[in-house]
Structures are given as C-alpha cells and as structure tokens.
Symmetry: C2
Subunit: 348 residues, 2 copies
Amino acid sequence: MDSNQCYTRLSKNIERNKKMVTTYYQNKKIAITGGLGFLGSNLAIELVRLRAKVTVIDPMIPLYGGNLYNIKEIKDKIDIHYNDIRDEKAMKKLVKGQEVIFHIGNQTSHIDSMTDPLYDVDINCRGNLIFLEACRDVNPDAKIVYAGSRAQYGKVESIPVSEEAPIHPVDIYGANKHVGELYHQIYHKVYGLRTTTLRLTNTYGPRHQMKHSKYGIQNWIIRLALDNEEIPIYGDGSQLRDYNYVDDVTDAFLRVGCQQETDGETYNLGSGEPVSFREMVECVAKIAGSGKIVFLPWPAERKRIEIGHYIADYQKIQNKIGWNPCVHFEDGLKRTIAYYREHRNYYW
Amino acid sequence: MDSNQCYTRLSKNIERNKKMVTTYYQNKKIAITGGLGFLGSNLAIELVRLRAKVTVIDPMIPLYGGNLYNIKEIKDKIDIHYNDIRDEKAMKKLVKGQEVIFHIGNQTSHIDSMTDPLYDVDINCRGNLIFLEACRDVNPDAKIVYAGSRAQYGKVESIPVSEEAPIHPVDIYGANKHVGELYHQIYHKVYGLRTTTLRLTNTYGPRHQMKHSKYGIQNWIIRLALDNEEIPIYGDGSQLRDYNYVDDVTDAFLRVGCQQETDGETYNLGSGEPVSFREMVECVAKIAGSGKIVFLPWPAERKRIEIGHYIADYQKIQNKIGWNPCVHFEDGLKRTIAYYREHRNYYW
C-alpha cells in the first residue's frame, strides 16, 4: 500500500470515526491518567478537539514522560491535577463523575523494572489496584481503557501474535503490566466495571520523552539522529518490531472508549508493516539526514530482556470495531522528526 | 482403582522416592517459608524424617495457618525463625546457604484478596519479589520450589486443565499467585535462579488451620462435621473439584526439589479422581458420623468468585518425574478426621 492509499484509508477512518467519536465525546467528562505524558497528552489534544471536558492526572515523576509543553496548546481548556495513581484520596476525588477514563499512567521502563522491581510493583500493581478500587467505590459505571503492552507476551513462540498467545514476559515490567490487565478483567467480571485493555506495541511520535533511552527506543533514535550522534545497533538489528504512530493509537483508545461492546475485552494493536530494528534506524537517519549508525555487541542487561521478533495480530480489534493503523512508518517518522526539529528545546 | 491397589502404588512410589529423595535431602540445608503452616509443617516433618537440616520461616500472622503445634514432634530438630518474606534483611540472612527453599509463605485467602487487595499485593507481589531478590543476591544457586495455585486458571473453559490452559483468574489472589509464578520464571530466565512452580489444587489433611473457612474449605467442612454443626452446600454442590491429600503434595515438592530437570518448569498437581463438592461433604459426614448437611443459596461474595468445575491434567509432572497422587480421597479423609479427633484442642 502506498502513501496515497494509506491517507485515503486514513481519511475514511477519520470520517467513520468522526461520526462515532464526535457525537460521543462532545461535552463528555473524560479523565486521563498519565495525561501529561506521550500517549496521554496526544489523547488529551484530540479530546479537546472533539470538545470533551478533559481532566488530566499526572504526578510528573522526574524522568517519566510528563511534560507541560506537551499540552501547551490546550492548557487553558483542560483541568490538570498533579496526582499519583497511588494516592487513594486523590483518585477517589478525580475519577468521580468521569464518563470515560483512559488509564495510561504507569511505570514504563523495562530496565528500571529489573533494577528496582519493588518500585514497579508499587506503581503497576499497588497503584493499578488503588485506581480500580477508587473507580469501584465512586464511579462503577465509567468506561475504563487500560494501556497494556506487548511486553506481556515476552519472547514469543510464533508470529504474528494474537491475544490468545502464551504470556511469558521476560521482565518485571511485562509481568506487572499483565497482572494489571488481570486486575482490570477481574473488576469487570466481579464488579461489572467497564474495563478494556489495549496491548500496545512500540509507539512513537510527537510528545514522547526524549531525555533517556529507558523506554520509547525509536524516539531516542530520533534524538540521536537529530543530534548527529552515533546510533548504536546491538547485534545485527534484524529483530522485527511493530511500530505504531501515536495518532493511530489514540484513535484506538477513542474508538474503544465509546463502544460498550468492548467492555471486558483485550485487544492487540499493531501496524501491519513490521520493520527490523536496523531498517527503523536507517529510515530515521535517512529522513533526518544525520546520525552515524554503529554496530555494537548487546549490553548484558539489555540482551537478557531482549525478546526477538514481535509482530502483532490485530484482527480482533479490526473485526470488532473497525480500527486500522493508517499512518505508514515513513510518514509517521517524517511527522515525528519535523515535530522535534521545531520543538527540540522543550524535550532535551 | 481400589484402596489396596492405591496403597500398592503408594508403596512403589515411596520406594522409588526413597532412593532419590533420601540420598538427596540427607544432611542438606533446607528452608521452608510458611513453614509453620499446613503444607510447610507437613513438609518439615517429612524432611526431618529424611534427616535434612531444616529451617522454617513463618511470621505467624494471626488467622493464617501458622501453628506451633504442627511441628511439636520435630521442634527440637529444626530452626524456627518468625520472619516475614517482606523483611528484606531477614530474608537475606535466612536464605543464605540453603540448598533447597520451599517457598510456600503467601497470603492464601480468596475472599480476603477481594476485601483487602492491597494487602494481598503487599505479600504476594512485593513479598515474593523481596524473597526472590534475596535469593538472587545471596544464594543464586539454591533450588526454589514455589507453591502456585489452581486459582491462577480461574473459571476454566474445558476440563481437565493442563498447564497450557488460559489464565483467567477470578480474584486478586489468583492474579497475584500467577504474577508470583511469572516472577519466578523471570528470575530463572534472566538470572538463572533454579525455580519451579507447582500449581496446587485443593489440598487437605492434618495440620491445616481450622479457625475459619476463608481457605481450605474441605478442612472447614471436617470441623463442622466433628462439631456436629450444620454443613452448608451452596447451590446444588455439583461443582467438581480435585482434592489432593497433603502427603501427596509434600511428595511432589520433595521430588521436584531434588531434580534439576524441573528448573524453570511449572507443573499442575491433581488427584485423578474428581469429586463433587456435594460428594465431598457427604463423604466427610459419613466418615465423621456427624454433621447436618443443609442446602443454601450462594452468598454473593462467594458466588462471584466461584469457578465451576476444576479437574487438573497432571500428566506433565507424571511423565517428567514420575509423581503420582497415591492417597484415595476416602482414605485421606479418614486419616484427616482421625488426626483432628485426637488433636482438635490445638486447632479450634
């Protein structure tokens, strides 16, 4: 599929989405945990455009993705609360009265989950339960969309990976993201909470943190290229990955958030065009016109949690609610690089 | 298979076990978390018989299974430490130098995991990681056998249930027991810890707590029968269960503990003779000669975490290390009832 076809399909999707989503989100009260971070802020901007009443919740933990610059264009149109999902009292206050809650605020570093597993437990186990308990207590009718991860699958046995594939995470992050999903399922089954999980693959685009390489590797590569630094490829870089542009992902959240038939379900997201790590790096360097690719041996702490190929089977969400990824990898990279060229001072 | 055949098979197993297990555990340093509870104390007694050097670790949390009477016959032959798996410093001190660690000390109430999910997370997520971090830090070569649970599967789609069956727990206890298993697998894959998980089905027998019905339902039924109380059956009691006598379960732990080929693996335990809840109750009342069976509607908090039929497929452990359950349900009940008739004052 070439770029024109992609945009045609994108337009069609946006059209279809508009009908469904616009009528739904207009004047609706919507909360986003992790709302100042990458995915959360992109979602907030789209929701403001759809004229929703948006509350973002983000504790701005240092080195995490929260960045006030992300929401500068909408800052007067949203409520911002600097609270942590582990704060029971704040959660009860903030989830009350919300019609849809996009629950994205979690610890997201694979590496940190291994060096400080108890901290990951504190946010991604204890925090997720505090969040769910608050919803159960003060807002059991809200729709809740939880950001899961392909890390739940770990090293996969075969590709593409459907939602039924075995769950063998290789790091504590993946394990705890998975138990977070199990909590959401249990609160659906036992208490009737309207929870859905989206298992995200690698997502890239504007408004990602660019301070370190602990998560969001493709965004980190963009920084290295724009700074004309060495871009390391560990091993031969042949591992395949599924990269979703952030607009496709926010589209999935919005579609799921307004459709009751997704209650209690789990869906993979994916791109339909797997790219090797090496191709990704080469593409970034080509579009940026800078960066020096170097091949290095795997560092031990990354090698042992490296998962090999990952390609998502996203037929379930495609068939159920007509979601399709629409932004081609190269197009998405162009937009992303253009964004950081313009706004780099606010990111690194 | 009648009772005689069962005992013949039991003898053969004990014989085979003796060769393998006796030579292995003799003079070996062995630790048991939750070692004053039901399964832990039965394991400690068997290990003392096999002349192992046993350390039991148990914080004696009120209403949990810890009971000093459980180990009265071996109390001068073992080291007892009243420490919690959440105590990092104590864990490092206690796991050091142990050759096998049977890790059984966890929160075990389904109901409590729903009324106080954060407490379950604190022990079964945070505690399990503190335990594993201690092993990784001071004793990375120890063999670790973790007590998993059939609760990990939740409401099953088909029976019998193999280790490959989907994991859909219906309560926080089941979810956290599962993430506990994932932690053990990750520490095996990433750090080479020699972990194995046994997913236990309902286990009954001497030395179980008899103070409340929050876990170990079949033991609770025995108490009601011995007290000639009403024994409630919720609904029609037709749900099938797999009941293992505790000696069969300790046998599995001992076999797994001494065999390297079980490193990194997960095994179901099961009985091979599923029994309905109603049959179980009737059998208890018949052997006890007392107790009044009454049929009641399901209480809401139990109904919503009730899982229907459960029968384990335990071929994997059978084929891999020759474990077989050997104590028939009726025989096990007779031994259990005889134990509590004699020692009831120490249990309720």
